[in-house]
Symmetry: C2
């Protein structure tokens, strides 16, 4: 159940002298069973020597060399959060005057090494999330360049703590050196097909942090509803939301999501998908969508964004100018998937435009024409963009730093990953991780196995894989069932994207994931069970 | 979207004179859209004439002819419950002194007609659940023989109430005459594979009442754990539960479940499945299970209940004597499914016994030998019994009133239903309703379609079909995900078992069920969405 990666031969030798434990350790299984790191760190060694943690004495403090101190509210907030995860409600614990024993771990020293700890910054694709963690009495030390690595290390530290038979928190002597395999590890939630109340989004951001996810891909609007309140075009949500007051995200809601995510080292990348998937946009913005025709007369229904009107691009310029200021991340997801050409084909003005442009009857050229202009508009806001794979497949000219999001099952996603990276673009994978799709039984195994670099290509191509995202499309989920459907199935993706590629043993993963799921439950996340069994601390909600 | 069953031609004529609405009424669709009865009553007619209900004035009272009055705590409790479902928290509403207008519905008169209203009784398989409901200003009248029919009518009345655009509760002039198609309409929950906290069970009993289910089949123990605290054999749960204090049902928990169910007209039928599915029993009771052998020596593992020892039967006699007093229902479910013969075959004492009894190598004869003795033991407690179909399939001699529970997929359940009823036994169906099995998409349709009487047989055979049960086995569900996985999928079974057999239109059902699901959500049940959309009152929990 335990792993020692990469440096196993080295540590094997050392272990004889120092009593370190690693690999499938015989005899000490019970103590080690209590530990259940998820996702598994890159380098990890643990000893049978255990220290006790007293909630009345244990503290998380700053190392004296640390560039971040008590004025770093992101870390202060994280210290409180992890203290509560480990010891429960703070108020219950009064400080003790009794002296700690020699077998106590009395503090975790957090040592931020970079000149700028980034306390008030935002995480990015370039963020260094690595950390080093040493647990030994009387102090544990967590060392990271900046707050983002410290957040990951705090999660790991809290996962090392386990209750013994007396209910006392213990932690074993441990050395960890850790960093993510992929820089982009995301979850897509869809707040259009069903509105997701703020507290559902926030709870899932908490669960994401427990799994070291670092991107919340917010598929915020789509055909069925437009819950985003735009300051520039308030009629979009007034006319396009399920309800203009109860089923919308206000500017302050959006700010809260972004800040809540930031505090957990999570980027918020909004998706405003065009030109398809825009039915709800058409309610508020006249002439934005293409009028479909039935023979020679308008049918009263509408298709994708109308690509032949200048007004469409003027709208997009204003709209994305707002979006670029509301969302601090360097990237916006522009969608571009599943454009249905039938409406465009039915419209005589569109057909005429096609002729004028010399597109013949190839409507993917019209789609590219639209996307090309949109990309130029967004590039002018200084944002980078992500797009679904169709945009690449259709040969649209893309900025070099465009991220191509692979999602289609046919042709094989491995071929698409190879083609995208062969063309020199960064790719991220979602095809095997459409978690809205459910099956009876332990389907987490099929989520766990796929590797985003498992395609035929050069090392340079493999390096262009920046990660992946678990997607929970909203047809069948809302506040009633979203969280247990996502967790712990998304945890399988979390380990695939964080841990070393050699971490593939499903049986070992099952044991750790079962405990990790119980830990999420203990922390208030209604993560569903993997199989028959129970948790020491069961879910207390309904 | 509206139905008028059986008497449609008659009412068609009448409607011209009196303005009754029925069938797919054109023009009045909007008002009628607000109504969403589930399960659909047997006979139903509604008019466009609407009355208003004021929470400050509306009352549920007893008709002066009613045999039940304010001393009937079951009804008092139900009045309060349905008042809250319709108007929200009671405390918010002070009585008004203003006079009601002519378009107000000021009261629902409940009229119990039987000499014994059964206020303190328990529902049974013979219970008359029929009721008649007339809504007209100033009073609605709900007439039923006893409290059980009144409970069903109260649910229907509350479903007729809808909010208009001002948020005012309205109800249309309506006549309903209703009764269930089948007498046994159950839900099986499994509290062994995962422990189910009391509040999860109670919430699901509430949801059952909203769907007119009347049997809670409590699959309370099984291989993985034994959460039932037995007064006679406390070691069963002490040794067999996941945890002897936190993962058990105390006698008072069991009483509470039974009483909570009774208040909602729901029978509690416990299942203590033997001789298989008993691994957890063996922890507490020495020699109860068959020791398995590896060659000529005991392997240390155990199989089904040991059928060759008298002590096994002595234990069962004492145990079921307790069960027969703890659970008031006339029936106990004795299981009898999936007996694995391999352990019996491995055991030399069992083989010797087989020889002595002249069973040859037919271990189903040994199984029948055990079951036969068990049935005699349980019959002595004056209880009737239900068994899984294997007991019938193996030719065990059964009391005439035994209920055979059909669950296997092969051979076809239709053949099994035919064989069971041809042999003169009552049958109930679960095969198509294993709701633990999930599929992506709108799988409620496949749950909705099967009809338990859809097999080749005589009218007399069809009459022996007493109903069915939706089963939610516990491998993959616990408090985190059970309720949204069960609802509204189980609602599809509810309508199949209550409404007329002609009610089969999936599109019409979709519209009603979508609203019924929102109603459950409004009442605090986290029933999952059928598809894209929203509810006026979304789920407020996490």
């Amino acid at each position: 159940m335990y792993f020692l990666l990469k440096f196993a031969p080295l540590f094997l030798a050392v272990s004889v002298c120092h009593g370190w434990l690693f690999g499938d350790f015989v005899g000490k299984q019970k103590e080690l069973d209590e530990i259940s790191l998820w996702p598994l760190p890159q380098k990890f060694q643990s000893s049978a020597v255990a220290f006790k943690l007293s909630p009345a004495r244990f503290q998380i403090v700053y190392a004296k060399e640390s560039s971040a101190g008590p004025s770093c509210s992101l870390l202060e907030n994280a210290f409180r959060r992890y203290f509560e995860y480990m010891f429960g409600d703070l108020k219950k614990h009064e400080k003790s005057r009794k002296k700690a024993s020699d077998s106590d771990l009395v503090e975790l020293k957090v040592w931020i090494t970079a000149a700028d700890p980034e306390c008030d910054g935002y995480p990015s694709l370039q963020t260094d999330e690595s950390y080093e963690l040493t647990v030994d009495a009387p102090s544990a030390v967590l060392k990271a360049a900046n707050v983002w690595g410290a957040l990951r290390g705090l999660e790991t530290f809290s996962q090392l703590v386990y209750e013994d038979d007396y209910g006392v928190n213990n932690i074993n002597k441990t050395d960890i050196s850790d960093f993510p395999r992929f820089a982009h590890r995301g979850i897509l939630l869809d707040s259009s097909r069903h509105f997701l109340p703020l507290k559902v989004i926030l709870a899932n951001l908490e669960a994401m942090a427990m799994n070291k996810f670092n991107v919340f891909h917010w598929h915020i609007v789509d055909d069925p509803s437009f819950p985003y309140i735009s300051r520039t075009f308030p009629e979009l949500s007034q006319k396009g939301a399920y309800h203009p007051f109860t089923h919308v995200y206000t500017p302050s809601d959006v700010k809260m999501v972004i800040e809540f995510a930031r505090m957990r080292g999570i980027r918020v990348i909004p998706e405003f998908d065009t030109p398809g998937h825009t039915q709800s946009w058409g309610n508020g913005i006249k002439d934005l969508l293409t009028p479909c025709y039935s023979g020679s007369t308008p049918s009263g229904t509408f298709g994708p964004v109308n690509p032949i009107l200048n007004s469409s691009y003027e709208f997009m310029a204003q709209f994305f100018k707002e979006i670029s200021t509301v969302f601090p991340d360097a990237y916006i997801h522009l969608g571009g998937d599943e454009v249905d050409f039938s409406c465009w084909k039915s419209n005589p003005d569109v057909r005429k435009f096609m002729e004028q442009q010399g597109f013949g009857t190839d409507y993917s050229k019209l789609e590219s024409f639209y996307i090309q202009r949109l990309l130029d508009i967004v590039a002018a806001t200084k944002k980078g963009y992500m797009v679904w794979q169709e945009v690449f497949d259709n040969g649209v000219k893309l900025k070099a730093d465009t991220k191509i999001h692979v999602w289609k099952e046919r042709p094989q996603y491995q071929d698409e990953m190879a083609q995208v990276t062969a063309a020199g673009f960064s790719a991220l994978l979602s095809t095997p991780w459409y978690l809205n799709r459910i099956n009876y039984g332990q389907d987490w195994e099929n989520i766990y196995k796929p590797d985003p670099q498992n395609f035929t290509g050069t090392d340079a191509q493999k390096k262009l894989v920046i990660g992946g995202e678990a997607c929970l499309w909203g047809e069948y989920v809302d506040a009633t069932n979203l969280t247990p459907r996502l967790w712990p199935r998304a945890s399988a993706v979390a380990e695939r994207l964080w841990s070393d590629k050699s971490v593939t043993d499903v049986n070992k993963a099952y044991n750790r994931l079962t405990k990790h799921r119980c830990r999420m439950v203990k922390r208030g996340i209604p993560a569903e069970p993997l199989f028959v069994g129970h948790c020491r601390h069961e879910y207390k909600g309904l």
